[in-house]
Every structure is written in C-alpha cells, then in structure tokens.
C-alpha cells in the first residue's frame, strides 16, 4: 500500500474479531470520506471505553458509576441472582422482561483447555455475596457447552451444604422449532427435562 497511515489504521481494524484485511480497508476508506468531526468522535468514544468505564463493584456488569443501575434498582429482587458469562447475556435477558432479580457477571467461563481457571473469573466476589447472606436463589444462565457446564458444576459444588436454591435455565426445543431440525442432544435433554402439562 501507499500510505503507512492507512496501513496503520487497517492493521488496527484487522485486530478486531471477525474483521479481515479487506473489510478493514473498506472501513478505513469509509472513514477517509466522512467528516473530521465524526472520526474525532469515534476516536474519543474508544478512549472513553478505557478511561471512563467502570465495572459494577457488586455484579461486575459494566457501568458508568461504581454500582450499576440494576444493582441500584430497589424495585428488583436482590436475593435472586442470575449468573451470566458477559454483558451480552445481561442485555439478552433484560430484553425478555422476564427477570426481576439481579446479576453476577463472571467475565468468562472456566475452560481448562484455554487455561482459564476460577481465579481468572469473578467467582470469589460471588462467594463474598453468599457469605454476606445477600443471595437466596441462583439461576445459572450459562452457555450449554462443556465450559458452561463445568462452571455451573464448580460453583454449585462449592455451595454444597448451603441452603441456596440453584437452578439452570431450561434447555429444550426452541419455541416454534420443529423437532426434525433439532439436534439429538437438545432433543434428548428436552425429553429428560420434560415438564408436566398444565391444563
């Protein structure tokens, strides 16, 4: 290429997940065309992610303040805690409008293959919340993968002997889904986890 500056910007975009060299170049060419103010705003928004953003000291959700708006909300049930992997899960669950408890964001899942252990995640602070008797019920909303199951197992194992109610979100055929297109494991689990039919 002809310009070290463009090359530099393309290299930065290429570092983002799912963005290759060609897409990065397309994005940079777009930025070349837009107003200087737009690029300045973009640049500032990125910096702010590191300078101004905090993680909630209670649930580790991202927050503009020390305690996030969900943990501050007195209208929510603070004794029921939903355990999720990251911010996207919080957003997804909030969008359902079905959950009025609070969250605990682990920031990842236990994955021995990737060298991620419990000490790399926000797990100790969850036990601090237990010890303070803040929590009566735990809902695990983690991915239905080996890592998700391992994480759920690790946490429930350490809770052994306490009287906290623990549950995982239901796995099964998605609403509107056809049986013939479901994978066997999901279908198998949804038969094992069948629920009584209410008239």
């Amino acid at each position: 290429m002809n310009s070290k500056i463009v090359e530099g910007a393309v290299a930065q975009f290429s570092k983002l997940p799912g963005i290759g060299k060609k897409t990065a170049l397309r994005l940079v060419l777009h930025l070349l065309k837009v107003d200087e103010q737009n690029v300045y705003d973009f640049s500032k928004a990125l910096l702010k992610l590191k300078t101004d953003l905090h993680f909630c000291s209670v649930c580790h959700n991202i927050s503009d303040e020390t305690i996030c708006s969900i943990c501050k909300d007195t209208g929510r049930n603070h004794e029921m805690v939903c355990i999720v992997e990251d911010l996207r899960d919080v957003i997804a669950i909030e969008n359902t409008n079905q959950f009025r408890g609070v969250y605990h964001v682990l920031g990842g899942l236990i994955s021995p293959v990737d060298g991620i252990g419990p000490e790399d995640l926000n797990i100790e602070s969850l036990f601090v919340r237990f010890q303070r008797n803040e929590i009566k019920e735990l809902i695990f909303a983690l991915a239905a993968t080996m890592e998700g199951d391992t994480t759920t197992f690790y946490i429930t194992r350490r809770l052994n002997g306490s009287d906290i109610k623990a549950s995982t979100i239901a796995r099964g055929i998605s609403v509107g889904g056809e049986l013939e297109y479901a994978d066997e494991i999901t279908l198998g689990r949804s038969i094992l986890g069948r629920v009584p039919y209410k008239l």
Copy 2:
C-alpha cells in the same frame, strides 16, 4: 443498555458500513477486554487518518506526503494514466504487477441518481494534466456499471479532438470461468469484444 459509554462506542461502530448493532456490540466488548494501550493505539490511528494523511496533489491517491510514491517513481511510465474510482482499485491493479504507468483517482463515479456530478470528482485536475501534455494514453479501469460507463463517456467526450489514446480494461469471462455460469451481458460483451486468436 446499562452504560452510556458503551452505547456511545456501539453507536460509533454502527455507523460504519456493513456493521450492525450486534456486531458493533461484539467489537466493543472485545475492546473492553484488550489492554488500554491497544485501544489507545486504535484511537490514535483513527485520528491520524484525518490529521496526517494527504492526498497526492497529482493523482489524488492517498499519500503520507504531498506527492505519492507512485507519482514520484521515475521508473514508471508517466504518460500512461489509469483512471480508477478509489484507492482499492489502485491496490488491486498494483497487485497484478501488470501496469507500469501512473494513476488518476476520481474519488467516485458520476451518478445523477445520487446527485454526484463531474464537479464532485477529481476530474478537473485530470484535464489540467492533459493540458500540460503530461498524458499520452488513458486506460479506464472503472466499474462495468451505468455509473462507470457514464464517467468514461463524460471524460472521453471532453477529450474529443485531442490525440490521446483511450481504452477501457477488457470485459469478458473471467479466467477459469465456465460459460454456463456467466451472466448474459458479460457473455454478450465478451463475444462482441472477441480477440484474434494467436498461435
């Protein structure tokens, strides 16, 4: 969402072409995880696009200096000018290693539908290059679209009466392409534009 700062960054990413809200959020979450220095470098690379980048005063290609490295290269044929839409075309043609002339980057194509006229493009500076007798041959490497054809037509029309050689890059079946999968217009053009077979 829970954070105005994250929302702001997501909004900035969503402005980029081909990036929706979900992808933007994924990119922002990625940036939350990486080192502060990486985000700082990213932010700086963006700013540099507007503060340090120049366009070549001869061919309008992007350049870190007043005149780009292609226009400076005395080993190239400066009388043969390839007309392209933007930087990506320059990169694509340079990658073929088949062209040893110089370029003229229009910065777009004439498109009455989008309200883009010749005065919005780098066309006048091309005629300045003509008037200085710098150019003997023009090669139009524009998209095979209505806009590309209109732009080629406009420029060649204004050249009427001069003795500049003008050509367009060949349109036809791509090398290795099967006839049955080619669209009719391409196939039609490639029959009309058939070339003598050399033994």
